[in-house]
């Protein structure tokens, strides 16, 4: 048969990714070491557990939080009734960056990208009627993670729960905040101290709590390629493990509670291979580099969120299809938990209808598609195995380069990681602008129609209400006690002691996020981003 002409000169997984060949055979795998491991066996390429989703489906965990605690509490109860099996809290930016709702920089931000939490009072009401001893909660909080975890513990204890029984995750991944997302407060040094204080506190007092969720998601959102996302996340992971060891902790005492968080793009097979490679590389790092003995320390457990950047403002219903493919990639990649984005998120915060479609997408995959019925169904595909090996190589090359620079912290301080991601983001935009990268409805198959979908609006009165509520709290609480606990926070922050116990005392006295953060700013100073342009 004559050779067919192909429709483009070269095929690539992502814009600057791996070149894809026409067909893959067993011969393509010959150059790589053989990995015949089964699911549940080191290096866990196929799955960390032997039975995968046959024993337990992934946790369908939708990130939500907006406006006031009452409204968010109502949304949580709604999601719970709809069959959601875990909570994920979005905090508004002032809480994430250590400002109370009445701070001038909070103007316009109150209740916008998440729920407004100023004090323990807000945290208690957020969980009204939801027994914290019986649920699993993930909280996207980083710079102020120790304060917010202290509030969660205090709220749970007020409900009568024992802190050792609490199940959940705090993101607590400050390093990626300097690379992407940017909700840092302090410089990397003191921030690492707070991060590791939280991790060692959890190792001792909260055996079911994931003390960190080392995140690639936000780097991907900022423009990283699949390999960059994977490599920079594991490089940060190495920095955290090393910092814990430097604190005198034994690796197997904390590493089993380390968890991860990644994005899923629409390039399905590349994403599946990324997740497989990530599991393999991390287990080897933990075993070979850090001498972990407990297999649980070597298991990469992770949450996935379908990627927000891939959602388009144009023809928003197309996003349902994108999210479906991304969710499928996550499940075929054997994630532990998954958030599916809502189709309207390039336009506004998601409406209740859009959130429901997103959750239903996961349920259709779980119960109708059949992909969850066998473990790692794409394992053994020549192409997926080849890509897994290629991505593993790419990750290792980046980690070697970062080691040369002196580790992730140094690489961040020097701006290396930021520049790599920025370059990828710009390359991607140019590829879209030139049409080399097709985005349906954006640079091809455009219809020129205006989207007309109902979107969620945040009532502007919420800011006034929240500020009023805070004013009332500050008037009614025991302010002498607040002063005393804040002095305690300062004293501990200036010492080498773990900050967590004193923070629990402080929030129980209703000291606010802003007040506690101000004390810490006084001790640690504030970080100002270096110019990257």
């Amino acid at each position: 048969m004559p050779d067919e002409k192909e429709r483009q000169p070269e095929f690539k997984t992502t814009v600057d990714g791996t070149v894809v060949r026409r067909v893959y055979t067993a011969g393509d795998l010959a150059e790589f070491p053989i990995d015949n491991s089964l699911p549940g066996d080191y290096p866990f390429t196929r799955n960390i557990m032997p039975a995968g989703y046959r024993s337990r489906l992934w946790t369908m965990r939708q990130y939500a939080g907006f406006a006031t605690v009452e409204e968010t509490n109502r949304r949580y109860k709604y999601l719970y009734q709809q069959g959601q099996t875990g909570f994920s809290v979005a905090f508004h930016l002032p809480t994430q960056e250590g400002y109370d709702s009445d701070h001038p920089l909070a103007a316009g931000e109150v209740g916008k990208c998440g729920v407004a939490i100023d004090s323990l009072q807000d945290m208690e009401e957020l969980w009204a009627g939801i027994p914290l001893a019986q649920v699993s909660t993930s909280m996207t909080i980083n710079a102020t993670a120790p304060i917010i975890l202290a509030m969660y513990i205090a709220a749970a204890e007020k409900q009568g729960a024992d802190r050792s029984k609490l199940d959940g995750t705090v993101q607590n991944d400050i390093l990626k905040e300097y690379i992407a997302r940017n909700t840092y407060i302090f410089a990397p040094g003191p921030s690492m101290r707070l991060t590791t204080d939280l991790c060692s506190f959890c190792a001792k007092e909260m055996p079911k709590w994931n003390s960190i969720s080392i995140s690639g998601y936000h780097m991907r959102e900022a423009g990283a390629t699949a390999i960059q996302e994977a490599a920079f996340t594991l490089a940060n992971g190495i920095a955290y493990v090393q910092a814990m060891i430097d604190k005198g902790m034994e690796v197997d005492s904390f590493a089993p509670r380390f968890s991860f968080f990644f994005a899923a793009y629409t390039n399905l097979l590349e994403e599946v291979a990324k997740f497989r490679a990530l599991r393999r590389v991390w287990s080897k790092i933990m075993k070979e580099r850090f001498g972990a003995k407990n297999p649980r320390s070597m298991m990469l457990r992770y949450h996935v969120q379908t990627d927000g950047f891939t959602l388009t403002e144009q023809q928003p219903l197309n996003n349902i299809v994108r999210v479906t493919i991304q969710a499928l990639a996550s499940v075929l990649g054997s994630c532990q938990s998954l958030h599916t984005n809502s189709f309207d998120e390039a336009l506004a915060l998601p409406s209740e209808e859009a959130v429901q479609v997103a959750l239903r997408t996961q349920q259709v995959i779980a119960y109708e598609s059949g992909v969850a019925d066998t473990v790692d169904p794409l394992g053994g595909s020549y192409y997926v195995e080849e890509l897994t090996n290629k991505i593993e190589q790419g990750i290792k090359e980046y980690i070697a380069r970062i080691d040369e620079i002196g580790g992730a912290l140094e690489a961040i301080k020097k701006g290396y990681i930021q520049r790599e991601i920025r370059r990828s983001a710009y390359d991607y935009q140019r590829a879209v602008d030139s049409g080399e990268q097709v985005v349906v409805g954006v640079n091809k198959f455009t219809s020129g129609e205006e989207s007309d979908i109902k979107i969620l609006e945040i009532d502007e009165a919420i800011e006034r209400k929240q500020v009023e509520r805070l004013r009332k709290l500050k008037h009614e609480r025991d302010n002498a006690k607040v002063k005393e606990v804040l002095d305690g926070v300062r004293r501990v922050a200036e010492s080498d002691e773990n900050v967590m116990p004193v923070l629990v005392d402080a929030v129980k006295a209703y000291a606010t996020v802003g007040e506690i953060s101000d004390v810490l700013r006084g001790v640690f100073g504030e970080y100002k981003e270096p110019s990257m342009l």
């Binding site: 930016l93 002032p94 994430q96 960056e97 400002y99 001038p104 920089l105 909070a106 103007a107 316009g108 931000e109 916008k112 990208c113 905040e177 992407a180 997302r181 940017n182 909700t183 959102e221 900022a222 423009g223 950047f309 959602l311 388009t312 403002e313 144009q314 998120e345 390039a346 336009l347 506004a348 915060l349 920025r422 983001a425 710009y426 935009q429 140019r430 879209v432 602008d433 985005v439 954006v442 640079n443 205006e450 989207s451 979107i455 609006e457 945040i458 502007e460 981003e529 110019s531 990257m532 342009l533």
Partner: protein, 133 residues
């Protein structure tokens, strides 16, 4: 005589840290021959207005993805116009719901560019509305 380059100030008012769009646009405008000053994150409307005057810019680009644009964009335009009568062109970007666009236009934001806006479109808009090259 060489044509004077268009000077652009890009800033992110408020607490939002999503700077991919702002950075990509800044780089794109620079590659299109403009002089770009990036003011960075967590800046107040006052700081942006001050910088716009001091840097004598022709264009101010504001980016916000947190939903705080209605509180921050008009205020920035107002504070800048109090300080200078140079007809600075204001453009905005981010997650801006359609219903807010006319209100922002009334407040002086000449055009908003949403997710996926092509850089050449932004370049053309700026060139057409500043009379520069």
């Amino acid at each position: 005589m060489p044509t004077k380059k268009i000077r652009v100030l890009i800033a992110k008012p408020g607490l939002d840290g999503h700077d991919r769009g702002a950075m990509v646009v800044a780089q794109g405008l620079r590659d299109a021959g403009m002089e770009v000053i990036y003011l960075g994150l967590r800046v107040t409307p006052e700081q942006i207005a001050e910088a716009a005057v001091q840097e004598d810019v022709d264009v101010v680009g504001l980016s916000c993805l947190s939903g705080a644009h209605m509180a921050l964009f008009p205020k920035t335009v107002g504070l800048t116009r109090e300080r200078t009568d140079k007809g600075i062109l204001f453009i905005g970007g981010g997650i801006i719901p359609k219903k807010d666009v006319p209100k922002l236009q009334e407040a002086g934001i000449a055009r908003t560019f949403g997710p996926g806006a092509p850089i050449p479109e932004i370049v053309t808009f700026i060139k057409n509305n500043t009379g520069g090259e």
